[in-house]
Symmetry: C2
Subunit: 206 residues, 2 copies
């Protein structure tokens, strides 16, 4: 395969595009969409988000030291984009994007009600990396839409219609291609019951 | 919308599932698949990956202080899964997964030829977070498959058929839902009213 050399740049895709809620001392919540976000540790569960110093939300994060990662889906794609390209200096993004602030369970910052999953976080460390500061945080609570639970009371995140961000475009998750560990499973069609559940659990802590 | 409380955990999805190549002092390259990976800074371009201390690749990363993030696609999903659930202590993953080591441009660690994009990285910092250590790294080179360039010599990453990882499952990227900034572009959008209606409907039924 022939390869083309590119100069060093951001080419790790797909990434999540999440709406992050935050607030400063004045307790006025804002929303910023970030794709520079990821899971960085399983135990304790930790997330990092990276935000430019110039962004309005940067000082809110520095002041409040809390945020909520609100996952985004098909119905929220326009709001997601909107909250990434506008500033809370000028507008109330909740109003403008038609989003509803909802009391969080552990942190003071509100969550976004319309989001299928709300991940409440407390900042533990801020690293200055260059254009962006990285906010490392502990996950302190997770809220999930009841509609995502199936008849066996198991979470079916697939039902959330989550979106991914890749090279300037938003995509719906498409065809399922496999489950974690499927490449070494001896008999993929059998052992559907408890064994599979156990495997899924193991995967979740990978 | 009714919400269900979950205990703190890893629920940030979708994430990339990338094959990371690395090697230690003995210069024997290995592959480890990680989903705990993300972009953390634009300038300089930086990536973080998180790896458990127990993993064979951990000491290779500590010794070599270099790695390559090899993006994964539809054709590589089985190899991707395989390299995540097996150990380089026991096997040669390149051979077993049918992958070809290819000389990288800047780092000593080889890239995976079959991967559509190879992101060469040099580790700048290692943070011990708990179950995982986070490797922060500068991107020092990017190689892209020639087949992803269009007739205007522009990169079309969509053609790579990248995959995402979400809650234990691998998905192909599906329908394109919008481009970055589309929500505030002046052109009259035909589905403006539609989106609002949908959201209102959802609220009403909550």
């Amino acid at each position: 395969m022939e390869k083309r050399s590119f100069k060093p740049g951001n080419m790790l895709y797909p990434l999540p595009a999440v709406m992050v809620t935050c607030q400063g001392k004045d307790k006025k919540p804002n929303i910023i969409t970030v794709a520079w976000a990821g899971t960085v540790c399983s135990d304790p569960p930790m997330i990092s988000i990276s935000v430019r110093k110039e962004r309005f939300s940067h000082h809110l994060l520095m002041e409040g030291k809390e945020f909520v990662v609100n996952l985004t889906n098909k119905d929220l794609v326009k709001a997601t984009d909107y909250c990434g390209v506008t500033s809370g200096r000028d507008i109330n993004k909740f109003e403008k994007a038609g989003l509803t602030p909802m009391a969080s369970k552990v942190v003071e910052v509100p969550s976004i009600m319309e989001s299928p999953v709300n991940i409440e976080c407390k900042v533990t460390q801020v690293l200055e990396l260059g254009s962006h500061d990285m906010f490392l945080a502990h996950v302190v609570h997770v809220s999930v839409d009841e509609s995502l639970m199936d008849e066996k009371d198991t979470l079916r995140l697939k039902k959330a219609d989550l979106i991914a961000y890749s090279h300037g475009r938003y995509y719906l998750l498409g065809k399922e291609l496999g489950t974690f560990g499927y490449s070494i499973r001896k008999k993929p069609t059998k052992n559907k019951g408890k064994t599979k559940k156990k495997r899924n659990k193991k995967k979740a802590s990978a």
